[in-house]
Structures are given as C-alpha cells and as structure tokens.
C-alpha cells in the first residue's frame, strides 16, 4: 500500500522531525497514510462483507440481501466479518539508549517510536479499537489502559510527549516489563513493542513468550538508528556508551565488519525467536518512513482478525 505522493512527504521522518507537536505529527502520518489508502486494495479498514447464508428465523431482516432474493427467490442474509473491538497496547521503550540520534539522523529512536505509537493510536481509535500505552525502561514506568474513546488519544499523546521530553537515563530491562504487562492486560490484546531491545536476546524472547502465553498478539518493532546499522565512522573515535556502558576508543574501520556481524547475529537471533512464537518482528531505522510502520501494523492486525475472529452476522 503506497500513500499518495503529496502526503508521502509527511511520512518522512526528516520532515516530521521539523514538526514539534507530537499530536500534529501523528495526525499527519495517519491522514497521509489514509489518503493514500483510498487508492489501495488494502482491506480491513471497515466492516467487510464475508459471505451469504440461508435465512433462518430470528435473523434480522435488515440483513436480507434483496438483490440475491430478486435473482433467486430465496432469502439469504449477508454475513460480515465482525470487527471485534481490538485491544491494542503500544509499548514504547524510553530508556537512555532510545534517546540516541546519530549525526544526520532526523530524530532519535524514542522520538521516532513516539511518533509511530501516536500514529497507531490515532489510527486505531479511528477504527474504534481500544488503544493503551506502556512506557518502560528498566521497568514499566507508565501504563495507560486501552480505550477507544476519541478523547483517549490525547491522553496517549501527552504521555508520549512527556516521555520524549523527559531525561530518563535508565537502561533497558525488557523481560520484567513484559511479564508485568502480561499480568496487567486482562483481555487479549495486540502488543506493539517499540524498542531498540538493547537487552539480552534471551530475556527479550522470554518476555515475548510470556505475552504469547497470555494469548496476546505481539508485534516487535526493533528500532535502530541508521548509524547503528551501518557504523559509518572513520578515524580514531571514542564511543561513550549510554546507559552507563562506559567508554571505548578504537579505530572504527578496523572493527566495522565485526560490529556489523554482531548486530546481524543479534537481529537474527531475535527474528528466529519471534518466528517460533508466531510473532511479527520488524526492523526499522529512524530514517524509515512511518507509513511502512503503519502498514506493517495494519497488515498484522488484519491477519490476526481474520485468523481469530468468529464469523458472525453483521451487527450481531
């Protein structure tokens, strides 16, 4: 699904970074995305027709397909995929490492995640889904219960905005957070994790496993800075680690390949683990246009709904 060109520019992080208000950013992303969606074959934005079946007493006569009756003289009612009220929780990592933005990057990983999270919230509420928010670093710092009320989005945006403006210096510890979240979510939900996942891969997967154990759908958005994926440094460089990781001085050219191997190994490990748990795992860097993020989310949402939703009569 490709948004139209005129709105596409608002999905570019480098453009969005110039807009200070997160709310406006998110609206731009979604409006831009939906405008493009009208031209796309993407399905799932509205209550969709699924099949016909024979009328049985008790069925609402409003659902009788009169056109079919005119052709066949039999009563058929239209059957729709029920748009269940999806619970979506956007879990945004606000640890110190998420505040990193390399030279030339449009925004930090946290800003990018917040923007994407707000856009998802806005989109979900537009679809009458309930949206919640979790902010975490070493623990779950804030949690907003899912709600589909239109005014709820403002609450989410305020929380995300506060997280972006805050000065957190905690390191990521995701396992406990996901365990905690799994306990808090009473209803089956879709959990969208937006984090750099700079934690032990096993802990990350164990936390996801816990969510899956509680029948929550999980989408892992692994957010990177472009420099973290390309390691473009040249000449003697002192790397000052965030989250108290110390300092390291080296010749980046000499270790670049080794570094990229390490990153690849980590990503591969997570991707395989997620696949085993039927969990979507997507790698983004902060230069990725946000419609890609939304597309991934919506595609996953549509797939999950098809797989898990019961076939009901429209409105029933």
């Amino acid at each position: 699904m490709t948004p139209s060109g005129s709105y596409r520019q608002y999905l570019d992080p480098s453009v969005l970074s110039k807009i200070d208000a997160l709310e406006l950013r998110a609206r731009l992303v979604v409006e831009g995305y939906i405008t493009g969606a009208h031209r796309s074959p993407y399905r799932g934005l509205s209550i969709e027709f699924a099949d016909h079946r024979s009328y049985t007493p008790g069925d609402d006569v409003r659902h009788i397909d009169w056109k079919v009756y005119g052709r066949t003289d039999k009563f058929y009612v239209k059957e729709y995929e029920q748009q269940t009220n999806l619970n979506c929780v956007v879990l945004v990592d606000q640890s110190e490492s998420m505040r990193f933005a390399s030279d030339g990057a449009a925004m930090s990983k946290l800003a990018y995640s917040a923007c994407a999270g707000a856009a998802l919230g806005y989109l979900s509420i537009q679809q009458h889904d309930a949206v919640g928010l979790g902010l975490f670093d070493s623990s779950l710092r804030a949690f907003v219960k899912p709600s589909s009320h239109p005014g709820h989005w403002r609450v989410l945006v305020d929380e995300l905005d506060a997280a972006c403006r805050g000065g957190g210096d905690e390191r990521t510890s995701i396992k406990g957070v996901l365990f905690d979240l799994a306990e808090r979510l009473g209803r089956r939900s879709m959990v969208v994790i937006m984090s750099d996942l700079f934690d032990e891969a096993d802990d990350v997967l164990r936390g996801i496993q816990q969510l899956r154990y509680h029948n929550h759908e999980v989408i892992v958005c692994h957010v990177w800075d472009p420099a973290e994926l390309r390691f473009p440094f040249v000449g003697p460089t002192e790397f000052r680690g965030l989250e108290g990781a110390g300092r390291l001085m080296t010749q980046p050219q000499g270790i670049r390949s080794r570094y990229l191997e390490e990153v690849d190994r980590f990503v591969t490990r997570l991707r395989r683990g997620c696949r085993k748990m039927q969990t979507d795992y997507v790698v983004y860097d902060t230069s990725t246009p946000l419609d890609v993020t939304l597309s991934a989310y919506l595609a996953n949402r549509s797939l999950r709904i098809r797989q898990r939703s019961s076939r009901v009569l429209g409105g029933g």
């Binding site: 110190e96 490492s97 998420m98 990193f100 390399s102 990983k109 750099d196 700079f198 800075d225 973290e228 440094f233 000449g235 003697p236 460089t237 002192e238 790397f239 000052r240 680690g241 965030l242 989250e243 990781a245 110390g246 390291l248 001085m249 080296t250 010749q251 050219q253 000499g254 270790i255 080794r258 570094y259 191997e261 390490e262 990153v263 980590f266």
Partner: protein
C-alpha cells in the same frame, strides 16, 4: 658504530619520535561519539582488541623504523669488517701526499732517487683503484699544494698530473701537506673508514721531528690528529739508508757591511758532510753576478762533520749584487741541489735613499737634509759615482712616494706624521724596509711615541743651546756594532770628540739594541727590528743645531755606514728559501706596465699585482727552484735569491717510533721498498652500510603500506 655524519644519528633518533608524536596527537584528536549500541561494539572489539593493538603497535614500529633507518642511512654508518664487502661495496678515496722536497732528490747507488720510488709507489696505489674509487694528490715540497684537490675518479687524469711533478728545492711542509690532506678528507663525501691518506716521503729528520726530543709537535700533531679523525693514515717510507751527502749548509756575509765597491765583502761558507763516511776534499767556486771571483778547496770531511771557509771578495773583483757559491762534491753526493748557495749583496747596486726634510722652507732644503744628502753623495760635486741614489722630499710630500722603491727612508727633523703616516712607514719597514729617524727641534715627541714604530720611547729633550754649559760626547766604550767598530779602533777620531749640547733622552723598548751611547750613558743610537726590516733612532740631530758632528771628519763615514747597514738589512730581506714568495710594493705605473720576474731557469713570468690600503703590491711565488730571481720594475731590475732549505740536506730518515712520538697519532708504517700496499690498505678501509639501510627502509615502507591498507588506516 661510527658514522660519517654523526649529528644525523641524533636527528634520526629524534625523528623516530615523530611517528609516536603523530600517533599520540591522533589519539588526542579522536572524535567523541555518544553511542547506544555499546554491547555490539564491545563484543567486536573484545575479539579483535589484542590483534588490533599488536597490528597498530607493529604499524607504529614500522613507521618509526622507516624514519629511523632513513636517518641512520643519511648518517652513513660504516664498519671495519670486510666480510660484507661484496654486499655493501666499498668505495675508497685515496689521498696521496707526495714529498717533493729537496731531500727526495737523494739518489741511491742504483741511480734511483727517492722521488722516483715515491712516484712508483704512487702509481701502484693508483692501480689499486676500482670503479668508483677516487684519488687526490697533494705535494709537500716547499709550500704544500693540492695538485689534484678534488676527489678525482679518472685514474688517467691523476696519472697525468703525477707526471708533471718533480723535486723542488724546498723544504718539507709537513703541516701544510697533512693539513691539505685533512681538508680534502674532511670535504670528501666518502666515509671516514673509506678514506686513506698515503704519505710518500723519506721522512728526513729535519722535517719529520728528527731533531726534536719534545714529544708531539704541537702544530703537526694537531693537524695529524685532525686528519686521522677523517681518514686512515699510511706512511710509506721511500728513504734509503747509508747515503752520503755533502752540502753547503751556510753561506753568509760577516763583519762590517761594505758600502762601496772598494770595500771588501767578508763571507763565510760552511760545507757539511751529512753522510756516514769520509769525504775527500771537494772543490768549489764563488761567482758574483755569474763572474768567477774565487776558487775554493775544502779539505776532506768526516761523516757528520763540517768545515767552514772564510774569505773576502773585494768590490774590484765584481760589480754585481748576487754572490753564488757552488761546490763540486764528487760522485758520492746523494743530493745535488744543495751544492749551490746564493747571497743577495748591496755591493755593486744602487742604494735608494729617501730623505724626508722636515725643516725645509719655501723649496729651500733644510740643513739636516742637506747635510745628510751631501754626506751620502759627496761624489756629486767631484763627478765620481756613488752607491747612493738620494731623493729629498719635503714633509708635506713624502707620502706621495712609493716607499717600496727605496732601500732606506730617513726622517730628518720631521715634525709629526700622524697615524696614517706612521702606519704606512710601519708596513714599509715590516716588509723589509730600512728606516732611520734622526732628532731635531721640530720633532713632536708624543706623535713619534704614538706611532709605534720607533725602537725607543722618547722621554724629553736634554741640554740647551750650543753655547751653554751642558755638553756631552759619544762614548767609545763597549762598541760591538760592526758599523761603529771601525770608529772604536781609533778613539781619538772625530766621532768621539763630538760635542752634543742637546739630545732626546729615550728609553729603548724591549728587543731593541743600543748601538751607541752618549758619555753620560744615555742611548744615542738605537736599532730595532720590525717585521723583516730595521728601524734606527739617532737621538740628536744630523745638522749643526744640536751638535757639531757635521763638522767632524767622521760625519760622512758614520752616515754612510749607518745608511749602508740599514740598507744591507733591507737587501738581506731579498733572500728567500724555495717555496717562499717575492712580495714588494710597486707604483701604479708598475702595475699598469706589468711586473715581470726572471726565474733561474731563464723564463720571464708575470707577477700578480694586488692592492692594499697603501697602494699596489706585487706577489710572485711560490719559488720553485733555487737561484737568482730578478723583478723588473720598468727600467729597474731588483735581484732576489732563493736558496734550498738547509735541513733538507740531511737525508737520514727518522724511524717509525720517532714518528709516532712526533706525530702523536695512529698510523700504518710501510717500507716503500716492499711494495705490499694492497693488503695494508684493506686493513684500513671500512665499509658503509647506507645501501643496506636504504633497502631496509624500502622493505619497511612496503610492509607499512600493506599493514596500513589492511587496517584501513590512512597514513
């Protein structure tokens, strides 16, 4: 390890710090980056950290090695071992110092002279030269000179120059020869160990410290010490033993100087047998201006002995100014060049006198100048030729004269000369002129004392007027000065009855000699040397103002004797030794016309004429052979003579031990008759390592480039 350019070693060591410095500066110039993904960085680094450190250290060491090796290569180390000669090669710079002094003409029983043997050895040494070797040639006879002063790579050229050499009549300029070799070796681009100085000499005792028992000769030792700091020194002895040599070792005038052709010229001649055996009687001849004036027969002389002949020749026998003594010692004489001696005599020539008249007025000559010039040329009035050519100039005009044209300058009652006047007179005297200063009422004592030329310090004027009570006379006691000795033999003569009523009391300076005193003990005539010339101070006047000497009969004789004696000294300075130079002042006209010099070989050569603050000076030399030289100045012909150096007649050489003591430095000593030079030289030659080091530099550069590329580091 020794180096050609030792300072470059320190430069190299310092330069090796540059890569370290750059390394440290680069470390200081690192960029700082906040970084989130430290876990991957640390994992990447931990695996390669040790290897990276080693590689970077290796890179740093390679860079240091490149700089250091290059610096050391430029410093050009060398080592004395020949094991790697085929690898590093060894170019040799040989400096041949050839003794072409008189003693090298000594011929052995086989008819081969020492010089011939030296040239044979020189050619053998030249034959040792491989491609890339260089040779220089220096001679040390007379005054040392560089025959091939540069490092000549063309052996044929050097051979050609060797062929032009011959024995001179000069002495051995050991310090000069070694000094030139030192200079050539120092300027040579070859490594010190690849420079060898061969001295080919007979090491005759007179020149090589045979007479010295004082250890290291200061000057020669200093030069030799400096030389061995740059090159190996090999002494090749080409002197034979047991040679017999008879020579004239002394020939000089004695007694009163003759002042005219009528007076006898007393001469003394010493013949020495410098060999080891008895020499039978030898004959000889004495010539005056090539005219035989006397035959001599010298009795037999034992080895190491000498005999002296005294004789006189009168002016009636000859009319020339150069006396030549020639001995005929026979077949056993090893050195022929020392059988002739020459003497420049004032007899027969004209003595040019410049009288500076201080008391003349309005073109009328003052009394003192008139009395003196009359005394020197009494024959003018009688029509008889006299030996003096007298020029009288006033005090105001004397500086216009070219003093070098005069044998004697007489200052007669001149007031003051000033700094420039005394300076010019001082330089004139120092170059061999004669100056007589006589007292008088116009003399400015302070100016004379400040002039710094007089042999006395004038204190004050003693006495009064002629009719006064004060009066002294000249004292005849203790007269030893030859000029005055004749007067002393007849005390009652006029000189000692002279009445002097005024004179300058003066204090003779150190080194001067009081020739005559007043009878009150005060110095009346004082003589002193200044450079090559002589200055006489006469404390009273030469006219009748301060004494009545002009009225005495001895006045003329005294003035003539005094001026003649001073002139003799001046003429005596026209004697040179082979290797010396003829230098004299000439006029501007002489310079324009050119100054020619007739050599003993009959050649006429043009002398160079330079200029100094006092005017023009001609220079000719070094004098290459003994004999008569005549300087042509227009119509005038001024005779000079050059004699061989007396010490060169002693052909006995000194041994290796004596040379070690005298030179005070390390050297190899070879007997020139053996002809085994090649092996000896290879012991002295060392080999340079710079080529190997440069190969190392290249290899290190290749390694560094490869490693830098591997590390992705920019150089």
């Amino acid at each position: 390890m020794p180096f050609v350019n030792p300072p470059m070693v320190w430069f190299a060591l310092g330069a090796m710090g540059v890569p370290v410095l750059i390394h440290l500066l680069n470390r200081r110039r690192y960029r700082r980056v906040d970084w989130a993904a430290m876990r991957f960085l640390e994992a990447a680094v931990s695996q390669r950290a040790r290897r990276l450190r080693i590689e970077h250290l290796l890179l740093l060491l390679m860079r240091m090695g490149v700089v250091g090796l290059f610096g050391i290569a430029v410093a050009r180390p060398f080592f004395p071992f020949s094991a790697l000669r085929s690898v590093v090669g060894s170019r040799v710079h040989r400096v041949l110092v050839i003794d072409d002094s008189l003693s090298m003409s000594a011929v052995d029983g086989g008819g081969v002279s020492r010089f011939d043997l030296a040239m044979l050895r020189a050619r053998e040494i030249l034959a040792l030269a491989d491609a890339g070797d260089a040779t220089s040639v220096v001679t040390m006879g007379g005054r040392a000179r560089a025959v091939v002063g540069h490092a000549a790579y063309d052996a044929r050229f050097v051979l050609e120059r060797l062929g032009t050499l011959s024995v001179t009549g000069g002495g051995t300029d050991v310090a000069g020869g070694l000094g030139l070799a030192w200079e050539i070796a120092r300027e040579s681009g070859f490594a010190p160990g690849s420079k060898v100085v061969f001295v080919l000499s007979d090491f005759a005792g007179a020149a090589w410290g045979g007479d010295a028992d004082v250890g290291v000769d200061e000057r020669v030792g200093s030069v030799a010490g400096g030389l061995v700091g740059y090159a190996s020194l090999v002494l090749v002895d080409v002197g034979g033993e047991g040679l017999s040599n008879v020579a004239i070792t002394r020939f000089e005038q004695v007694g009163t100087s003759p002042v005219s052709v009528e007076m006898p010229l007393r001469l003394e001649l010493t013949v020495s047998n410098l060999g080891v055996g008895w020499v039978d009687g030898v004959g000889g001849d004495v010539f005056a201006d090539d005219r035989l004036v006397r035959r001599l027969v010298v009795e037999g002389i034992e080895g190491g002995g000498a005999t002296t002949e005294r004789f006189a020749v009168s002016g009636g026998d000859f009319g020339g100014g150069v006396i030549h003594a020639k001995m005929r010692p026979g077949d056993r004489d090893a050195v022929a060049g020392d059988n002739d001696r020459y003497l420049a005599s004032p007899v027969g020539g004209t003595i040019d006198v410049l009288v500076v008249d201080g008391s003349g007025r309005f073109g009328v000559m003052g009394k003192a100048a008139r009395f003196l010039s009359t005394a020197l040329r009494p024959g003018e009035n009688r029509g008889v030729g006299e030996p003096f050519e007298v020029t009288v100039v006033s005090e105001a005009d004397w500086e216009r004269e070219v003093l070098g044209n005069f044998d004697v300058v007489v200052l007669c009652d001149v007031g003051s000369l000033g700094e420039s006047g005394w300076g010019g007179l001082g330089r004139y005297v120092a170059r061999g002129g004669g100056l007589i200063v006589v007292g008088g009422g116009r003399v400015d004592r302070a100016d004379y004392n400040e002039g710094g030329v007089l042999p006395v310090v004038i204190e004050d004027v003693v006495g009064g007027e002629s009719g006064g009570a004060f009066s002294v006379s000249f004292s005849g006691e203790g007269l030893e000065y030859p000029v005055l000795a004749d007067f002393a033999e007849v005390p009652e003569t006029g000189l000692f009855s002279t009445r002097v009523w005024r004179y300058f009391r003066s204090e003779p300076i150190e080194g001067s000699e009081v020739l005559l005193r007043f009878d009150d003990g005060v110095a009346a005539l004082v003589s002193g040397r200044l450079g090559e010339g002589v200055v006489c101070f006469f404390a009273t006047s030469v006219d009748m103002s301060w004494n009545n000497l002009p009225a005495k009969g001895d006045y003329v004789a005294l003035m003539v004797s005094l001026v003649s004696d001073v002139a003799w000294t001046a003429r005596g300075s026209r004697s040179r030794v082979v290797g010396g130079r003829i230098v004299r002042r000439v006029s501007a006209g002489d310079k324009l016309a050119g100054v020619d010099v007739e050599t003993p070989a009959g050649l006429v050569e043009r002398a160079s004429v330079g200029q100094d603050e006092d005017g023009f000076v001609m220079s000719y030399g070094p004098l290459e052979m003994a004999g008569r030289y005549a300087v042509r100045l227009g119509d005038r012909r001024i005779e000079y003579v050059a004699n061989v150096v007396g010490g060169e007649s002693d052909v006995a050489g000194v041994g290796e031990d004596a040379l070690k003591e005298w030179l005070g430095c390390a050297f190899s000593f070879l007997d020139g008759e053996d002809g085994v030079l090649e092996g000896k030289e290879s012991e002295s030659v060392t080999h340079e390592l710079w080529a190997i080091l440069l190969v190392g530099v290249v290899l290190l550069l290749v390694g560094e480039s490869w490693l830098a590329a591997r590390l992705g580091a920019s150089r």
